[in-house]
């Protein structure tokens, strides 16, 4: 079982595919769960405390906005722990109220810097692409399992 980082980290499709083909998806839900199940100071809604931007300094410089550093305290440890990654490049949903464009750029940069198996995709736009999309993910994850 390989730890696979997924981008967008909130993706239902990627999270399901990785688990379905026998690996562990590293998604933002698990990082948030860890925080909301840990006692500390009340900081609703996501229990992101002033400590998180400090932890984020490991991945982003001090002049980078606190929002990016706070988010990196969630995603950074997952990127360090992952053994493979699946990235969807045209994920517009990862920007806006769902996330931050600069953090997304940094996440992709850090994943690209890491020497791990990586699958780059776009969302399917029709049935034929759907078959190719699932086949690509299945092939990638099966090979990961064989290599392990």
């Amino acid at each position: 079982m390989v730890k696979v980082f997924i981008y967008p980290a909130t993706s239902l499709i990627l999270s399901d595919m990785v688990a379905r083909f026998g690996h562990t998806p590293l998604s933002s839900a698990t990082a948030i769960r860890e925080r909301i199940q840990t006692a500390g100071l009340e900081s609703p809604p996501l229990q992101i405390t002033p400590e998180e931007p400090k932890k984020g300094l490991k991945w982003a410089a001090v002049e980078v906005p606190a929002g990016v550093r706070g988010r990196m305290s969630l995603y950074g440890p997952m990127i360090e722990a992952c053994e493979a990654a699946i990235i969807i490049n045209d994920a517009d949903l990862a920007f806006g109220c769902m996330g931050c464009a600069r953090t997304n750029e940094l996440i992709k940069f850090l994943v690209h810097q890491k020497d791990i198996p990586r699958l780059e995709l776009n969302y399917p736009k029709n049935d034929d692409e759907g078959v190719k999309f699932v086949a690509a993910i299945k092939r990638f994850l099966t090979e990961l399992g064989e290599a392990k």
Partner: protein, 152 residues
């Protein structure tokens, strides 16, 4: 700042989404209640939210998947069901995460089709998707999106 005492420590919460012509969330919920032991199951418009001990949640999810494996999708959730910080019953309107789910639910029929098709063909014989990093040209879907944005 006040002290924070977490609830449901050690529990795991999962979404079970259904996008099927044959199965409804109510069918899934009934099956879930039949086989559950000590977990919380909440029926929603899109499927279920299941919360409890990890082994038990995984067992139920595995059983539920068998009903319609190509049309049932599962993902983790950080918050337990009905958490006042996230639940729209308290906040009003859709919560931020639904924008992502709503978008992906529009893609899921293609993924379901892919899963069905791969039962009959070997994935190694399917040609790979275009690598998005090697395709800097403006693709037709993006162009259409730009035109639509101009017209609206």
């Amino acid at each position: 700042m006040t002290a924070y005492t977490p609830t449901h420590v050690g529990s795991v919460t999962k979404y079970v989404m259904v996008e099927s012509f044959d199965i409804t969330p109510a069918d899934l919920a009934l099956r879930g209640y039949e086989i559950s032991k000590g977990v919380m199951i909440k029926e929603t418009c899109f499927g279920l939210v299941i919360s409890g001990k990890e082994e038990e949640v995984d067992r139920i999810v595995t059983e539920l998947r068998k009903i319609d494996p190509d049309h049932i999708f599962v993902k983790d959730r950080g918050f337990p069901p009905g958490d006042a910080r996230r639940c729209r019953a308290n906040l009003g309107g859709a919560r931020p995460g639904y924008n992502g789910l709503e978008f992906e639910m529009s893609i899921i029929p293609y993924v379901s089709h892919g899963l069905e098709a791969l039962k009959n063909i070997d994935e190694k014989t399917v040609p790979p998707m275009e690598n998005p990093l090697e395709r800097p040209l403006l693709d037709i879907y993006k162009l259409k999106k730009l035109i639509d944005a101009q017209e609206s």
